[in-house]
Symmetry: C2
Subunit: 193 residues, 2 copies
DNA sequence: ATAATATGACTGACCGGTCGGTCGGAATAT
DNA sequence: ATATTCCGACCGACCGGTCAGTCATATTAT
């Protein structure tokens, strides 16, 4: 079995439970059933582990997004599916959201694991551009009203993130599912023609 | 001059810059121009400082919210003002958002500064209820479509938070202002009748 | 004079990262 | 076949730096 992956999974568990700073390498090792030194055979440092977790989360998102974006669905369908699947992904992530939240705060602080540019900024720009192009298509086809595309794209991202954060506190999946459908309904109404 | 307040302001500056864990008491003291020991004359512990910051943020929000909610404006006006003012507050908070984000993650983790119930849960429930009652009024008056009130109320909170988090990364107030008006427009359309 | 307040040197717990050493198994020699 | 050498994954004791919180002393206020 791939030990690097094993360590990452243990790390996610530990960081989600204890936080990025309080989560100890020793505990990650214990969780993975290996010695502490072994962790350092696979990762240079604690920050390195953060980075790998961050990348894996975003790559999951990107895959779903690219797949959807390159489909032949109508703009309306594309966007509502994006919301639906995005929210589902957040819900499935569970405690990983807590890690993302902390990483995000780090990104906002501008000194992310040593380097100064953040994956967050990069990926979000990318998502935003993708959403904007769907909006353009929808405006052309007459499905969507005319609008400030960048604003609405940001709004869509904000919606998804915000719901994710609400879930962090609510932790009630029945309630959340009702909220989800209402959210999608409201958003689509807000931009439809 | 109130030294407690002085310390809180210094603490906010330091925590926003360095994060809750990495932010040092010694730096807070230096920032406030006092000795480290003096901090402990006014606060029992680092966690105690967190708690006070959290309370002060929420109480600011509550004041704005209560004032607006008890006004005689129409439901439509109430909600759009709430969005407008809420977003403005987020923007003014600047780096304080980073602190809130970390506190939120702590809250989600469920062991917030020792105690197990979180101010976040409490306050959000409160806001949600307030928004739900505005929505009820608006549905009765025919301004809003019929809807799952709890869902839309959650959505509104998610929306505001989500925009706040986007700002954390965007940091471009001109762009943000355009986004803000488009966001409010879209949201209000989404629930209007 | 003495109470109240301020201070920063000090302490001890904590933890990320290191490094010398172990050990099972693979490769090679006999 | 089996003895010998080699390899590198694995380990955890240890080190060095850090920092929250304490406390004996100093300063200021009454």
């Amino acid at each position: 079995m791939n030990k690097k992956q094993l360590i990452i999974e243990a790390a996610i568990k530990v960081f989600a439970r204890d936080g990025l700073e309080k989560g100890k390498i020793a505990d990650i090792a214990k969780e993975a059933g290996i010695g502490k030194g072994t962790v350092y055979e696979y990762f240079r440092s604690k920050n390195d582990i953060f980075k790998v977790i961050e990348e894996s989360v975003f790559s999951d998102f990107s895959i779903v997004f690219e797949e959807l974006n390159s489909s032949t669905l109508s703009p309306t369908k594309k966007l509502s599916n994006l919301l639906e699947q995005g929210i589902d992904m957040f819900m499935e992530m569970g405690d990983v959201l807590l890690i993302i939240m902390e990483l995000w705060a780090q990104a906002g602080r501008g000194h992310v694991h040593g380097s100064d540019s953040s994956l967050f900024v990069e990926y979000y720009d990318n998502f935003r551009k993708g959403v904007e192009s769907i909006l353009s298509d929808g405006i052309l086809s007459g499905e969507f009203r005319d609008m400030n595309k960048e604003g609405v794209a940001t709004l869509l991202l904000a919606f998804m993130d915000g719901l994710g954060w609400q879930f962090v506190i609510l932790k009630d999946s029945k309630k959340i599912n009702k909220i989800k459908s209402e959210a999608i309904e409201s958003f689509m109404r807000g931009i439809s023609n």
